[in-house]
């Protein structure tokens, strides 16, 4: 029973407390090697035949990296070439303390069978445990522990009969002292760089190497900067930052670089509860090497140095040649700042936590041909350029690549990094799609075998057991209404008149939770993905296709499992009775919105489906009216659809989405189902119901909207959602029919994000946009994980299923909500990015166009124009680098911008030319130029109209 043989006490004092812990040493920890006959291990991890061609060690060997090697060179370790590595427990623990992401990656490698990474629990091994000696630092002790373990391994492997040139272990360390001591003790030790460079067969690994600290100094200073320039102030050590934060002299927050201006950023300081502040930071010195998303400490500047956020758009175009180009650009920032608009301004004094991830982007090949150092421009404009060292620049030019940052010394204008991998040629659709998925952190790999193993076996049919537990609703006239081409149908409806004159309305949702059982690999994968992502012409599924497009899809004329929500509703659309049940349905028709609309409108049709649709439509109209009376908002955003060429998948036409009555009919019942379910699960589980809320925006958010409306003499009231909805409805301007839509677009921008939350962790449930006291998502379990959780909760509430631990744990639930919110946000951004990319492809094929648009925002040096026809937004700059800029007078109150003689207001009607600017292949953008009103020196002549014949062809 008791396996511990020796007993050692480990005393660790920290602070005032003395902690005494037991530390058992074992003799049943095996070496993990296949060759070993001494150890009684079941499944050895390390291979017998290790073949890595290295000109440093010609013998077969296992690698033992030390902590710093793992921390800095994880990219290399992840490479499939590196196999048969022994990770010591000491190293694993140190990595865990120092960097959570690297620890996660290391654990992933260890779990991968192909990599043959073995974790040796040296701290609990009888022969490799060492005690810290007096006067020895913790780091030194760990280094010694690593050496002792290596020593043990070499001795252990030597006793095997594999002979003198048999297996050896090689210590990889970048610490010279460590290496020296190891060699003195007769161990084989190399510097990591040395070893990797000796791998003759795999020269590509060298590029993956991160620069270690002492290398950086030599690599980038003595050759390039003869006089060592210190560009940035030193970062404060963590201990001083902590003291500063405690005393209130520094603030801790997340660094968010500005998208438009590389010299400006805000630091979001999370306060207690509601009072969070944003600190403005301007200028390279003050930004002090912080990178987007880092957690930093800032010090506020004295009030008289506070600045206003500039509305200048600045891009870092300067090549790294000389570093004082910035000076005059920084000057440009200072000029502004009206007294009122000044914001708390500060400077970064230290970095609390770096949040560096590998960045996608492109290489700017250095002008000097032989140079191995190049600048890399990330696709995300908020991330600075990165200097990397590579010998394959010529092949990498024109490709999208990934690069990781290694560090940012204070004498370097740009951070130093290393190449991770190549994604493919820039501008290719596949590559660009990959880039935008990676940049938005969308998990998009194919589903693993482990995940697929939890799918039901085909052919699948409903079993009698399922049937017995479910209500048979196959006789009902259920039909589904969806956009054309939809294969993942997750909702279907029915409506019939009851004998007492009331209506019975049912919403039937695909029963995904029947197939995805809690806790298995399939469930975990879905929970991680959180949502299905729809890109133009591509869908990244949350669950494997077998479920999303087949077994869970409520297609017509097949029997499907459903979760039904059935109401009895009278003619005034009042709900008399609500019930929920697991059911079996058989959809009679899968319609598109247009088809459903046609059936309703066609008075000759009197079949069951049409009758049912008419009933639904009638009730939906009443429901919608009631909802709007309660203060629900109708907002607007332009959504576009691309007509894709069926073969090349290139967009051939753009169309804004049209809304039909049937759209709102389906939507109305989905809302009703969501609200009913939300109420039910909250009643049943007040602590752990997953709900969705939409907080009311702070009044200041509406400033832009109110100002804009005022310019057209329209009052907007924003005291409540109802007031806003009413004033939006009333806002009309003669001879400007599009005004209302524009206002609604602006109003949408003022809103907060709706979020998922766990009812036990929050007290405010209100959904502002829908004016509902409680809301959740129930109706799309195929494409949203939140709905699966809600299904499970509801199933427990009606006694159709049992709970499981994580479902009832509000902290886990809350963590899940955070992930879902994050994934939803990222999915939205990815969707937008995909639309932008396809718009660019579209304009590439169309050439220059002349279109009418409206001014949506006025900035200091530009106006932002919306083209309703394409749902496209673009910026018209008035100061271009190569031209003399016209006189610009910006008035913040309007806001208006006076360019030479003409004054621009919000909502002005303008004409612009639209074309693709592909001068920068990475940031291809739509360039707009003004044609009307014509301002001499600013506007451009309208391009000639396109040959009409071509256009007609496309329209057909």
């Amino acid at each position: 029973m008791l396996k511990s043989k020796t007993f050692v006490k480990k005393t660790r004092s920290g602070g005032v407390m003395k902690v005494v812990r037991e530390h058992y040493l074992r003799d049943d920890i095996w070496c993990g090697s296949e060759t070993c006959t001494e150890c009684k291990q079941d499944s050895p991890v390390l291979q017998k035949d290790v073949c890595v061609e290295s000109n440093l060690c010609s013998y077969p060997h296992y690698l033992v990296p030390d902590t710093n090697v793992v921390l800095h060179q994880i990219d290399v370790l992840e490479n499939p070439v590196i196999r048969n590595v022994i990770i010591l427990q000491t190293v694993l623990q140190e990595v865990r303390h120092r960097s959570a992401p690297v620890h996660k990656r290391l654990k992933d490698i260890i779990h991968e069978k192909e990599k043959h990474f073995y974790t040796f629990t040296n701290e609990h091994h009888r022969e490799t445990f060492i005690e810290r000696q007096p006067g020895e630092s913790a780091n030194d002790r760990n280094d010694r522990a690593i050496r002792v373990a290596v020593k043990w391994y070499s001795k252990h492997l030597k006793t095997l009969e594999s002979g003198p040139d048999g297996l050896k272990v090689v210590l990889l360390t970048n610490d010279l002292g460590n290496k020296q001591k190891a060699e003195e003790n007769g161990m084989v030790a190399f510097k990591f760089e040395e070893y990797i460079k000796s791998l003759l067969a795999n020269p590509e690994l060298v590029d993956l190497l991160a620069l270690s600290n002492d290398d950086k100094v030599t690599a980038f200073t003595d050759r390039n900067f003869i006089h060592i320039l210190v560009l940035f102030p030193e970062h404060l050590p963590l201990s001083r930052i902590q003291v500063g934060i405690k005393s209130g002299s520094y603030l801790q927050g997340t660094f968010r670089a500005s998208r438009d201006n590389y010299l400006e950023a805000t630091v979001f300081v999370q306060g207690d509860g509601e009072d969070s502040t944003e600190v403005l930071i301007q200028g390279l010195q003050n930004l002090n090497r912080a990178v987007h998303q880092d957690v930093v400490a800032v010090q506020l500047l004295p009030r008289n140095q506070w600045l206003a956020p500039s509305s200048v758009v600045l891009q870092d175009d300067g090549v790294a040649k000389d570093d004082d180009v910035e000076e005059d650009e920084e000057e440009k920032l200072r000029l502004s700042a009206a007294e009122a608009a000044r914001k708390p301004t500060g400077k970064v004094v230290g970095i609390i936590k770096r949040n560096w991830r590998p960045f996608c982007g492109m290489l700017n090949v250095s002008q000097i041909k032989e140079s191995t150092r190049h600048l890399f421009t990330p696709a995300d404009r908020r991330v600075p350029r990165i200097r990397i060292e590579t010998r394959q620049a010529s092949t990498l030019a024109g490709q999208r690549i990934m690069v990781a940052i290694d560090g940012w010394p204070k004498n370097s204008r740009y951070p130093n990094g290393h190449f991770v991998r190549s994604l493919g040629g820039a501008g290719e659709k596949e590559t660009e799609q990959e880039v935008l998925l990676l940049e938005h952190d969308v998990p998009h790999q194919a589903f693993s075998q482990a995940v697929l193993s939890f799918l039901p076996k085909m052919p699948w049919a409903i079993t009698p057991e399922d049937m017995a537990k479910r209500e048979d609703l196959r006789h009902l006239t259920v039909c589904s209404v969806d956009p054309p081409g939809c294969t993942d149908i997750d909702d279907a409806l029915h409506c019939r008149e009851l004998e007492n004159g009331n209506f019975e309305v049912g919403v039937h949702i695909a029963d995904v939770s029947h197939f995805i059982r809690p806790g298995n690999a399939l469930d975990k994968e879905a929970a991680n993905r959180g949502t299905t992502v729809y890109l133009c012409g591509k869908r990244i599924d949350m669950v494997p296709e077998l479920l999303s497009s087949n077994l869970c899809s409520l297609r017509s004329n097949v029997e499907r499992l459903a979760f039904s929500c059935i109401w009895e509703i009278n003619h005034k659309a009042e709900i008399l009775k609500t019930r929920f049940t697991k059911s079996v349905i058989n959809s009679k028709a899968s319609l598109t919105y247009a088809e459903a609309q046609m059936r309703i409108d066609d008075t000759n049709k009197t079949d069951d489906i049409t009758q049912s649709l008419r009933g639904l439509n009638k009730l939906a109209k009443i429901l919608k009216r009631q909802r709007i009376e309660n203060g629900a908002l109708t907002l607007s955003s332009l959504e576009v659809r691309f007509h894709m060429d069926s073969e090349t998948h290139d967009p051939i036409d753009l169309q804004t989405k049209e809304l039909m009555e049937t759209n709102s009919m389906v939507e109305e019942f989905m809302l009703l189902a969501n609200i009913s379910v939300a109420q039910k699960i909250y009643d049943e589980f007040s602590e752990c119901a997953l709900l969705r809320k939409h907080p009311a925006p702070p009044p200041s958010n509406y400033d832009v909207l109110i100002k804009a409306a005022k310019s057209k003499n329209v009052e907007i009231h924003v005291d409540s959602a109802k007031a806003l909805a009413d004033s939006l409805d009333g806002a009309k301007v003669e001879s400007f029919s599009y005004f209302n839509t524009l206002l609604r677009i602006l109003a949408t921008r003022c809103m907060m994000q709706a979020v998922y939350f766990c009812s036990g962790m929050d007290s405010d449930f209100h959904h502002y946009g829908l004016a509902s006291p409680i809301y959740t998502h129930f109706t799309s379990p195929i494409r949203r994980y939140s709905d699966i959780i809600v299904h499970r909760l509801l199933a427990v509430a009606i006694g159709a299923d049992s709970t499981y631990p994580d479902l009832m744990d509000k902290h886990k639930q809350s963590a899940l909500c955070n992930n879902l919110n994050y994934r939803h946000k990222m999915a939205q951004y990815a969707q937008r990015a995909s639309v932008t990319f396809h718009t660019q492809l579209f304009f590439k094929s169309r050439g220059m166009l002349n279109e009418e648009g409206f001014v949506l925002f006025v900035r200091k040096n530009a106006i932002i124009v919306l083209i309703p026809k394409f749902g496209l937004e673009g910026t018209v700059f008035f100061d271009t680098k190569d031209k003399v800029s016209p006189s610009l007078v910006y008035d913040e109150e309007g806001p208006t911008l006076k360019v030479e003689q003409h004054t621009f207001h919000i909502f002005d009607r303008v004409k612009v030319t639209i074309g693709l600017d592909d001068s920068n292949i990475q940031h291809q953008k739509i360039r707009m130029a003004l044609t009307e009103p014509s301002i001499p020196g600013v506007s451009v002549p309208a391009p000639e109209a396109e040959p009409p014949t071509k256009k007609q062809k496309l329209d057909r």
């Binding site: 029973m1 008791l2 058992y24 959570a100 974790t119 629990t121 631990p805």
Partner: protein, 246 residues
């Protein structure tokens, strides 16, 4: 920064034990001559002294006298030096009172009290050093003390705390594990018949996991009973050798 990892991927706990392994148990019987029975027990770093007086006639208020069986009186206390920070009040606080009550209930289930009507058995336990699993170690020590006093019991009462981490039950938690946010369960078992004398759990745990946890606790308790049995036999052997020589 990151919390402590209670169970590594390789299946080792903080102190190098595997999930089902107990701490090292060392015990001695008959440490004091003046008491009727006494025992000292170490389970890892938790060290407990248990002393038993009785059965003797009722002391204090006679009204508590039971006419069909003996009254069991338990008192639990912790030495002021038993924890990392010096404790102010060694006994009489709410936690100690609760613990005394639990011990009393446990031993009422195990001791054959009906053999001694109208009398009283006193069990005093003192924690000398605390490192997790206080209740269980007290029960184990008190069992030995009761045996040393020669009071008949149905069976050894063995107790063990188990915790639940990463879907795995951990046997015999140490302090670091107990305070690491683990939902723990204490179980006192009469191992031969498998009867449960006391189960106690304060934390939230899903019902699905309870069975696995009790299963693990039962196995652990049986392990403890084996060790205790050995200790008792060893003690008896030594005692009989001594008496034989006399």
């Amino acid at each position: 920064m990151a919390g402590i990892e209670l169970l590594s991927d390789q299946g080792y706990r903080l102190d190098g034990r595997k999930a089902t392994e107990l701490r090292k148990v060392q015990a001695r019987l008959g440490v004091f001559a003046q008491a009727d029975g006494s025992a000292y027990l170490e389970q890892g770093n938790t060290k407990v002294l248990a002393v038993v007086y009785g059965p003797h006639e009722m002391r204090g208020s006679r009204s508590r006298t039971l006419h069909d069986r003996a009254v069991i009186n338990c008192q639990y206390s912790m030495a002021t030096f038993s924890t990392a920070e010096r404790k102010r009040r060694p006994h009489g606080d709410r936690k100690s009172t609760e613990m005394s009550l639990h011990l009393k209930q446990t031993f009422e289930a195990a001791v054959m009290t009906q053999l001694f009507p109208r009398s009283q058995i006193d069990i005093y336990v003192k924690i000398l050093q605390s490192d997790g699993g206080n209740y269980s170690v007290c029960v184990n020590a008190a069992t030995l003390a009761v045996i040393d006093a020669g009071i008949p019991m149905r069976d050894y009462v063995c107790a063990c705390t188990v915790g639940f981490v990463d879907e795995t039950p951990l046997a015999d938690l140490c302090y670091a594990e107990e305070s690491g946010g683990v939902s723990s369960l204490a179980l006192a078992l009469l191992p031969r018949g498998g009867q449960i004398a006391l189960v106690q759990m304060d934390a939230r745990l899903h019902q699905d996991h309870l069975e696995a946890l009790i299963e693990a606790a039962t196995t652990a308790c049986k392990g403890v009973s084996k060790v205790l049995d050995e200790v008792v036999r060893q003690h008896l052997q030594e005692a009989s050798v001594l008496t034989g020589e006399d």
